[in-house]
Symmetry: C2
Subunit: 594 residues, 2 copies
Amino acid sequence: MADYRAPRDDMDFVLHDVFNVAADWELAPELAEMMDVETAGAILDEGAKVAENLVAPLAREADEEGVKFEDGAVTTPKGYKENFRQLAEGGWVGVTANPEFGGMGLPKSLSAQYEEMLCSADIAFSLYPGLTSGAIMAIDSHGSDELKNHYLPRMVSGEWTGTMCLTEPHAGTDLGIIKSKAIPSEDGSFEISGTKIFITGGEHDLADNIVHLVLAKLPDAPAGTKGISLFVVPKFLSDAEGNLTERNAVSCGSIEHKMGIHGSATCVMNFDGAKGWLVGEPHRGLPAMFTMMNYERLGVGIQGLGAAERSYQNALEYAKDRIQGRGAKATRNDSAEADSILVHGDVRRMLLTMKALTEGGRAFSTWVGQQLDRSKYSQDDAVREKADAMVALLTPVAKAFLTDTGLESTIHGQQVFGGHGYVREWGQEQLVRDTRIAQIYEGTNGIQALDLLGRKVGGSRGELLKPFVEEIATFLQGIAGNSNWAKEAETLQKSLQDLTSISEELLQKAATDENLVNSVAVEYLHLVGYISYGYMWLRMAVAAEQKQAEKPYLASKIKTARFYFARIMPRTHALLGAIKDGSESLYLHDDEQF
Amino acid sequence: MADYRAPRDDMDFVLHDVFNVAADWELAPELAEMMDVETAGAILDEGAKVAENLVAPLAREADEEGVKFEDGAVTTPKGYKENFRQLAEGGWVGVTANPEFGGMGLPKSLSAQYEEMLCSADIAFSLYPGLTSGAIMAIDSHGSDELKNHYLPRMVSGEWTGTMCLTEPHAGTDLGIIKSKAIPSEDGSFEISGTKIFITGGEHDLADNIVHLVLAKLPDAPAGTKGISLFVVPKFLSDAEGNLTERNAVSCGSIEHKMGIHGSATCVMNFDGAKGWLVGEPHRGLPAMFTMMNYERLGVGIQGLGAAERSYQNALEYAKDRIQGRGAKATRNDSAEADSILVHGDVRRMLLTMKALTEGGRAFSTWVGQQLDRSKYSQDDAVREKADAMVALLTPVAKAFLTDTGLESTIHGQQVFGGHGYVREWGQEQLVRDTRIAQIYEGTNGIQALDLLGRKVGGSRGELLKPFVEEIATFLQGIAGNSNWAKEAETLQKSLQDLTSISEELLQKAATDENLVNSVAVEYLHLVGYISYGYMWLRMAVAAEQKQAEKPYLASKIKTARFYFARIMPRTHALLGAIKDGSESLYLHDDEQF
């Protein structure tokens, strides 16, 4: 596999030339003093070294070795432990965490870049700090001061790691029917019992303690999702100073043997009256869990992005090196027996599709990160309110679209390699296997689509769509005088109108057709995705034109923008056609006719 | 994983109610006496038992165990050897082989069904008899009587197996640059030297001898593809009675560790002056290899089809059993806490997409099989001529479109399973891994597309497209009075017009744009694929209407036809949009701008 090289130039271009995130930072009291363009660059340069030199070199072997399970203990692949220690010491576990507890407190627009690099390097490894980061956020947002002071400093430092324990054998998507129980004890703690499955990092050898965040039901819980509470349940109990005392009644029963992310331990966790503490209000566990979900879901989307970038780098290097067949006469290398396969239209199509989806995806994830930052940091109510709406709308798109296009990119990369793409040694097929899970976990992409069209667009009666449509329309008005992009702007304008009218139509029809939303949600999400990327590509194209004199490599950006509109945007026609059918053709079959 | 159940009803429907293949058989001297509807049914029933009871049960464990390599010898997974013996004894290795040498001599329309079942059961295992079958055909078509009499009876009986040795480390797609050499010996044989890679079944423990078909260059060979000759090179030499004498100088240097088909040995084969015999004329090895390519490529397409069928069966069983979330009020099971996930629109979308692509694919592969049979058996020059044209046009579509939609189906199936689709135990993720190779080997799907648009459509100046377009247009005229399908017929009619006009446009432009064909070939092939499936679905719908009184289960067929046109056919709009861009946006980037 090609050595990984972090796309630092493109990250800087997106952050500063396209989105000017530093202007936001200046307005935020928490960021103004600590963060500027230069500091951000220095941090990402260091992050790039971590990803390139520390994490990436272990990924291939870790996939072969996998995690091992014996007598309830999990051994991670060779080198993971030392790498995790180095990461922790460098502060990279607490990259987004509250500085009050030792975190770097990076804004998401910035940490998204670091996360992408880590995922390009090794998705399996990235999950250990990634889940810890999510658990930190949950405790920080909803835990008592006592819980925060006890757990956060040790988790932020990487001394202890974290998990999220949601899924049960019979309940994944539908958390309302979980069976795990929490019985109050006299000392204010709870006894937690139940079985959780698919717990990433539920057991491992990277840290001294593991802090599980567990969804369970109190004895007086109402039925369904309104009766779920959130608990902290550590693997080891500890005294006031944080010294580990006794083992808690939580254990790993087995690990899953999976298609990919072999270096990540996916555990069945058994809670047998384990001691736990309530996080937040009783029965309010699901909303508490969901406050960090926007960050987590963007994070999972970024796994798809990271893999796509790596796939592009690999396939490009292979395409340049592989001499096979002949290009058009004009481009032929007459001194050799054959040309590099980069001359072939179909190889270029696959490479440019990856390039367009990956750079478009990077801009999109940064844009969503910027919305999260505005929502968190902005002092301006109007800005914050709009950012909240954008976050609500775009989070499911980020999770699902970045991972769907991520899988597509890893498959294109594999195809560029031909037979070598199927052989493990080259590392390309691992990207396909490792990426595939990101479409499934943290809410399947079908669930994301339902969230977008049902809860967000439908739930707001279309209101949440408005700031999105308005922002793009305003941008298009702003470039109306730029004749270089008139054709692409017209395409985007037309798609935006299609989106608006199909959304209105769906809202109307959904009132009388209960099946409609879930029948077209996935295609609808993809439509929003391609329009979002179209917007990203036009913004990048215009920014690239402005900066090209200073940064000549941006000439490529302009060309890829042309490609995106010519070859990728037509996909919206297929999606619109399918959406227009509504639920009709999906509900003709009786159960036994499947 | 759900037990595999061969879709025998659907196979009979397609063979007899849709394509009436028996009418062709009656007109063919070689088939008229041996084959009729009843005999065909009995053979497929037996084939179904082989696939269901013998082959399928080993697939999961064989994937975990894989093939082992030690000291030049390959050990296949537990049970493969015994299963191969039973298959051979049942005559299933020589299923399509010439009866003169002990083969069953089944027409392709029929053997395609058996192949599909075997691939649904275990693609990795299916490759051992599959490659042998291809080697048999090559020797039968081009070998001398001496070669035929010596090798074919033993290969047809499964006593010996066969391989195809084409690819070399530096030459896969571009066979013109292979380096393997053949030096004539005084006894009329040749000394073959060179290294071949990706050789399926190059070494194994299933049979006493392995007969390699090897492409190599004679000393006086012209450069490029016109200088390649074909040789038979056995693992063991044998005397006139076929008793093995000495080991030939051919050996397996190593095996590949792959993403999937773990039970199939993918070998590096070293030929060190190995004794071989010329098959056919000197320097005419590539055309000789390609006479069987039409059969082989359809066969690889059928791997995608078999996997798609299995994926559908698995996912459907899971969807029916999995209780999660709530359906629309009208369909809700109020006595339970939740409903089967089959009530959800998005789950139905994924299942019906698989169903539509799989049943459409089965009809398509049978149709192409029928063309191959007419081309081979028909006594009518006009019928044979048309069938030849259809075979030439549709073979690359069958290989690429059946495998592209096959991968899509295995991925949908995995998504229906949620997290369980990612866990090896369930067998679903194995389907994804096993299917992926079929898009790559036997000519990548990009190469198939180039063959379709460049060699076939372009090379014939559009002539080869005409019988295809005319057949569909004639069918549409024939159902013009059927108002039940007026809407779908109009959609197909429109797509056919689009295909005709875009083909003309491409032919014109290609005259001055050398890059055009390979820039749009993949989208073009998909366009032909969706139109072909549209034709299949309308033919099936009309046949189902006629037979429904007799076979009530065909009501489902009619509903799936509606689904196909409503939700899948719109994809043609995206393809057309991309094709219209031509090569332009693919050739903007300089090499260093990628």
